[in-house]
Symmetry: D2
Subunit: 402 residues, 4 copies
């Protein structure tokens, strides 16, 4: 039953999450349950907590590895640092920031929604105005997605930091790094991010199930007085077990812990900066293909181009949902749908996680064929060729094989 | 690094969760991520939601498979059905009911804590008095663990139902079935349970990561007006996707879905009633061994004996933590610690999940050797022999091999 | 250590064996040893022996699943049917037929070697002459590779059969189907093949370790009098266990048996004829790419084109070994080397086994980039585009997803 | 289909091969095929060949890792060192020595069969007489099983060596170490063994599929002139690839190579001498259980007791096959059958490979229950208790957990 949609050969997984899991990680996770109260698991956890900090580029942060998804990680970030009624400035630039804002509102916060056209980044002019005006410091937090997965838009967090500094504003900076951390340049400490979070199934290239939240010192401080009701997501329970050396307030997934260990080993072997470069390489190649096809990137300006996902705008006479459907039905290729108000108008190519050049080129050639199938006049080979021209100039040798 | 506690041969996992995963389930989970928005995953989920009802013995319930642990499942049960300030009657009979009560209080409910000595079941006389007195129906819910994992005590839920019926009391009946469902007799519909919940890593014999909540019609109705703040755990978001046929408000673990499919296939092949009988057989055998060793069961009366976990009381001159430590260090045997106020006084043998007679007998012989190691005068072979005498009379042939 | 050649993303495996294993098969093989003398394994083996016949298109053949490689399967075919000194006609058309002939000679047979230029098929004119002249029937067997993996040449076995029939010659027809069976059209019974063989790691898409030999009635008859010394490869020991119902004269690989079961299930689900069509589609696409690059196929005539492997001739100023090396070092792409006398002159693209269109297109785009890297003036996108143009016209929908 | 003999819980595998595979090894083998001609596999093989020598305790031997079973390894040992007609002294002491002798005869050697009663070791007095008389050195080889798996008899190889030395006899010493190497004390160099061999599925605890042959310098020398026809098993082809640095004359199983790497890592972590001690501990415990049950060991004298397998003699009124059948059908326990002339008279407990104390005790308690089931008057707990009494005195702490 489970494989009733069987097609020969590999599935080409190019949704912007969950992403391809490396074989090494699959192997590490192929294991029995264990007693998480034995000495082994706390010892392992202790090292993991230290190592995970590296992917956030923080030394002062505290890591919480929560058995949940990104949505739960959001909730953890908000409820531990804020109290009902607190004012937040939040940017609506696509489906995922929309969902986060919805959560913020339902959790009882007072949200200043700053909306941009989908395909544009956060409107920082509005933020500047608000910060400038808020001399009373009623704004308790800025909540922003680093990378909006629905539109392929990357916000420049250094500018947000700069505005906060300029206006000496104490608002907490809460960052959704779900589709950025471990793929795009992200610097918790240097950029003064107070809470950042990601999910295991994104650039970490693990299965879904672990929401990773990193809280800076100001966020930890805020958690002591925040009155949002929380238990499952409460940092306090984690902090208590950290002090006890038991490390887990409730049962973790043994498999995800070993998987995370293997994932981090691969990340450190490749090097975080090389990973960021690889994502830039694959992102650039994808954008060159889109250009060669004569299609438009949903992202309106180069400054917002995302190296983890590209949302491609289709001509009005084509239904982008049809592209996604055909890709899956005919070529065993999974692409991302256009969500909400851009449903039918864009399809998305996820190019994040443990992925290499030829995988992407296979995907791009598949997209070309599907474009032809749905009636778009594409020259087969044009996008792949453009991408390959770039990649063949910039792809380094695999270090372990030189 | 990950295996730095390597010892030859199998690990004998006898904590009361997480439990042994069948090879068939491990194989089913040994897989890549997939796009959960493709037609395949919703189709699979739809069938899973129906099949999961069977392990709750319900036809009227609604299933929520939440990427969380038992603690999160608790929170889901409470926040969806109750509003801050609501009065709950809750029974404190061990560490896990204690933790649930702590959660209830932190979530802002008004909890009547009915405490029993650890080793005894819920005090239903007190419940009766409360129900009798509560003609105004201020009690909104009864929260009870079906099986207290810390002490090996099983509460008789039919009696709770009877009391509610006798006094025609409309309080919701919320049941923690974490260490009972799929192992002990549990009947959602017949017993009028309003919310029941379990976790994947218990009798379902999966990895940790899925909290399964089953809500009866009255609970669903209550969720429409309950004002507890919730987003991640909000049933509403699930119900919306059920109507849409997309089935997931956020990313599920693909691996756990396929694992659950495989686990249910095994459960249905063995037969839920045969599984319950097997647990009774293994539980009885364990208790006979304890008796043969001359040790006391923490559970004070036979009516509360648990078929999923046995807490064994050690003599005052022995530290039960030492037993757990030695078992792990010398025999690769994982036993459960005594928790909280019974720490050092009991150790626990978990005998739930996908387990058979010879595994248990291996464990019991290990316990015997450890008892001898820590200075308890046990006759080696006595407990195993007593257990085997029982098992050899009652173990049926494996149906597929007759 | 084991992963010291780690590179991010998938390895693109395009050698003509061992080939890509489907995830379903990997899962089925991810298992413990079992007692092969229990009732389970013989029952499973019995069904496997019947099912394997289907991939040979035989009803009269007898299957031997030998724990060995293709080389061992060759030896089994020869030593069970022939006696030292027996005359064989054998065709030398590439490295693998060369190795088989070497084996035939070392086993003491009297081999008429019929050589062709590498890149051409078996010289059947010479065969005809020999058969015509051999009125005394001194030729005991014709040994021929169906598909020469070193050059990508497929021989037409129906012509061989016709010659034998025309001259009413009783010589046994022994066929190496290592890189053909389960990928190319092969019909044991219809074509009067007496022994055919393959290896698990080729089109069956399993790991190496099982040599599969199919012996027709005349071969079984011959085995009764053949005096070549043999024990491990002796069919007699298998036939005895078939009669006993124990099925194994020595320990089989439990993992490969379950793997074979899973592989056959996938093969039957896709349909053998659809698999043959898929190989033809991928082979054609590859040849169109080669043509678009302006390179020559090592195979000299269309009648010999192989749908499982394409050997590409490089210009004299390029070392084909360098192409293979660069592909692995830079793009995580494994291509086949040129072997023996064509070393440095050709590289090979294996396109057999469980493979689909986008995998091949990814490979072809990789080859393009490597060609550019080594100094060949290729237009990037040209080959992929040509292949895609063909594939987009002929790739059917995945039946299970329509 | 594959799991149609499903029973809950683990299978207890106690046949003397194939044996339990450690999880670490299963994980290492859970992998895709790879190109064995890439630089990675030869590099890995080179180290493996060195490391495998350690389990033979040799520095002068040459290792051949052949894709075959023990039967093939036998054939490799014989055909590479001997010529048809050569005289061999061979000891018939059970089913496996019988099969080897059958092979020796079918391969055309002139075998002096020295038979012992099954349950006794090789008759070295006869060997002495033969060596003393053979002043012309017509005996070319002594072929002996180190451990006869059918009867649980271990031969003392040092005595054989001594006799050869005493009579300054140049016969090659060929040793079947299939159920000894990596479990019993074995010293290739010190004992002057010329060829020793084992199979992957025995004490190495891997799947079946790799026959490992170790040839000392005199055996390598002999292979240069031995005229037995051989190709697949010919050492020459391996030696050529060793010189070339390609290491494989034909396709190896990638999965078994990585599995062997993982198996050796575990072996070296535990320490070969600790492994030998563990086998002695488990063997002794098993024998104490047999004694406590009042049953006889098939092995007639203590000097021949085997630490890898115990053959237990049942009373005449019991059919030992029934014991094996019941164990499998009722307790998911796989025991070894009595073979050939001791069929129905003995059953076998394999206690080799990656196994620990509690696994064995679970098995022994299962055997007790089955003995009771088939009508033997056993006191339940007696054997397990006797074994546990011994084990609790001699089982060391797991070093990594102290």
């Amino acid at each position: 039953m489970a494989d009733y949609v069987y097609g020969p050969g590999r599935t080409h997984l190019f949704v912007p999450g969950p992403v391809n899991i490396p074989d090494q990680v699959l192997r590490a996770m192929n294991r029995q349950n264990e007693d998480y109260r034995s000495p082994a698991i706390p010892a392992m956890t202790k090292i993991l907590l230290e190592d995970v900090k590296k992917i956030f580029k923080t030394t002062t942060g505290t890591i919480f590895m929560i058995p949940t998804t990104g949505t739960g990680a959001w909730e953890s970030a908000l409820t531990n640092t804020l109290s009902p009624g607190d004012r937040i400035v939040s940017f609506l630039i696509g489906q995922f920031s929309l969902l986060w804002i919805d959560q913020q509102q339902r959790l009882g916060f007072n949200v200043d929604v700053v909306e941009s056209e989908w395909g544009r980044g956060a409107d920082l002019d509005v933020l500047e105005a608000k910060l400038r005006d808020d001399t009373a410091h009623t704004i308790k937090a800025i909540a922003i997605v680093h990378n909006e997965t629905a539109t392929g838009v990357t916000n420049d967090l250094t500018k947000v930091r700069k505005l906060l500094d300029t206006y000496r504003h104490p608002a907490l900076l809460l960052v959704d790094g779900v589709s950025s951390i471990c793929a795009l340049d992200f610097r918790m400490d240097e950029w003064g991010v107070d809470v950042a979070l990601t999910g295991s199934q994104k650039a970490l290239s693990l299965p879904t199930g672990m929401g990773i939240v990193c809280a800076g010192p100001r966020a930890i401080e805020a958690s002591k007085t925040a009155t949002s009701r929380r238990v499952f997501f409460d940092w306090k329970d984690y902090l208590r077990t950290y002090n006890l050396g038991t490390y887990w307030p409730y049962t973790p997934s043994i498999q995800l812990l070993y998987g995370l260990r293997a994932a981090l080993d691969l990340i450190f072997e490749e090097g975080l900066d090389n990973i960021i470069k690889r994502h830039n390489r694959l992102g650039t190649a994808t954008r060159l293909a889109v250009q060669a096809w004569g299609l438009k990137n949903c992202t309106q300006k180069e400054e917002w181009f995302s190296d983890t996902v590209t949302a491609v705008v289709v001509p009005p006479y084509i239904d982008s949902n049809e592209i996604v459907k055909q890709a899956w039905k005919r070529y065993n290729l999974s692409l991302g749908l256009g969500l909400n108000k851009i449903s039918g108008k864009v399809f998305r190519i996820g190019h994040l996680g443990n992925l290499n050049e030829l995988q992407l080129l296979g995907c791009l050639s598949g997209v070309e064929m599907v474009l032809k199938d749905v009636g778009y006049p594409v020259k087969l080979g044009s996008g792949v060729g453009a991408a390959a021209a770039y990649l063949s100039n910039f792809t380094p040798f695999i270090p372990s094989r030189i």
